[in-house]
Amino acid sequence: MGAFRKPLAFLKRDFLINSSYKAAFLFQYGSIVFSVLTFFFIAKLFGKNVSSYLVEYGGDYFSFVLIGIAFYGYLSTAMGSFTEAIGKEQSCGTLEVLLLTPTKISHIIGYGALWNFFFTSLNVLVYILLGILFFHFPIAKINLPAVIIILILTIISFSSLGIISASFILVLKRADPINWLFSGVSRFLGGVYFPISILPGWVQRISRFLPITYSLEGMRKAMLLGSSIKDIWPDISALILFSVIFLPLSIWGFKFAINKAKKQGSLIYY
């Protein structure tokens, strides 16, 4: 239990802080409802006309896009939460006193992002539940072990990118090429709103360099078609490869950034 005390303390702190802003909490869920409704009616508008591109995902645009927007949340959370963890402490004026405690800065940033991941998971659940309860989102074929494996690998590979992004922010303060590259480009090329097979061939090849492409592909196949781990192994192995490359790189980059910021004297400035 001792090992969990600090992460739990961060979760409790962020719950208490966030629950004091009840209106923002409610608006967040209101916007999820409107987002689901928007895509439901877009799907209704096109009917089955888009199905040729969607055959490999079961043929239903609403189910396709619901998974896209729900799980894209993990990418934006991973890309933003680690830097946000530093920024929030800085704006509260607590970064300095927190860095003075015998808690490693990597833990401060990691635990500080936990609430956002928890909240994103809650959002994903709400998206999927709304889809199931009101819009006939299919769950009969779902392969839960495959979904869990894809989810874990998604969080690891996206978080590695988020940690690299936080390292840039620690040193450069504002300019963060990683966040721009992966958040912005992934939304367009990663197959969030449409299947990448609709894109020109050379653009599709670029999208193969983005972890979100494999994450969404694997997730859709496991959720909508009930594909087995063996069936989605190409997506799983790609995500493992991204994790193996980016995780050590992110840890090294983060240590380098901390050391540089401590030497610059800019660790406490955001």
Partner: protein
């Protein structure tokens, strides 16, 4: 010696504006914040670093409290090298600044202390006992209201409680009375002198630009100007070193030393 500072220097790079960056892209401008600073502090001592704004006091406190790495020189706390043993050092020090915002405003006083106590690896029981002890020392009337609703003076007491939650051996104070009215500042100074130094035997290192604060609280004073320690010792030692008579006030001596 509990703190040993040996020839510590620190330079900061000054950010270039657009014109400078275009005209001299490879030239860096630096400012010398600390210039070969050396001193030692004994256990239980109250030591003041006195100097004008921008003299390097805060930089020195941030180096001693592990937030900034020096460019040159060696710093040891409790016999541990600051560069290699910062985690051990951090568990034995506390820092209080004069800033009003250093606790979470939406959390209550108690919730803040529980959070920071956990960060210092204290158990639930230890935190609860410590809050009771601090209640006796600091006389905080209500621990269970949001931090933002406390008065400025009470906020500073809670910040002190946060600083003392881990029962640190060395306490760094960076202009602790900066944002307080004269009455509250007087109470904080009394608390530092009577409780922290005399009763609890803490080692105190504090930065100030207020001469009366240094006189009232410090056993020894280091006068710093433009990153250099110009004089260090008890007031009578400084008077002898700077060849002024013993009735010369610290104020006059300070003006003479800092030019």
């Amino acid at each position: 010696m509990i703190i040993e500072v040996n020839k510590v220097s620190k330079k900061f790079i000054i950010r270039k504006n657009l014109i400078e960056a275009l005209c001299h892209p490879f030239k860096t401008r630096t400012v010398l914040a600390l210039d070969s600073v050396s001193f030692q502090i004994e256990k239980g001592e109250s030591f003041a670093i006195l100097g004008p704004n921008g003299a390097g006091k805060t930089t020195l406190i941030k180096i001693l409290s592990t937030l900034i790495l020096p460019d040159e020189g060696k710093v040891k706390l409790f016999g541990y090298d600051l560069k290699t043993h910062s985690e051990i050092i951090k568990s034995r020090i506390g820092l209080l600044t004069g800033e009003e915002r250093n606790l979470y405003w939406c959390l209550t006083g108690r919730q803040n202390l529980e959070f920071f106590g956990t960060m210092y690896n204290l158990s639930k029981k230890q935190i609860s006992d410590r809050i009771n002890e601090l209640n006796n020392i600091l006389e905080i009337d209500d621990w269970d209201k949001p931090f933002e609703t406390y008065s400025v003076g009470m906020k500073q007491r809670l910040a002190l409680a946060r600083c003392l939650i881990s029962d640190p051996e060395v306490i760094f104070l960076d202009e602790p009375t900066k944002s307080l009215d004269p009455g509250s500042a007087h109470k904080v100074r009394n608390f530092i002198k009577e409780t922290l130094v005399r009763k609890l035997k803490k080692t105190i290192f504090f930065a100030t630009h207020q001469i009366d604060e240094a006189t009232q609280l410090a056993d020894r004073i280091a006068i710093i100007s433009q990153g250099k320690i110009k004089a260090c010792g008890k007031i009578e030692e400084l008077q002898r070193e700077w060849k002024v008579d013993k009735h010369t006030s610290l104020n006059d001596l300070y003006l003479k030393i800092t030019g």
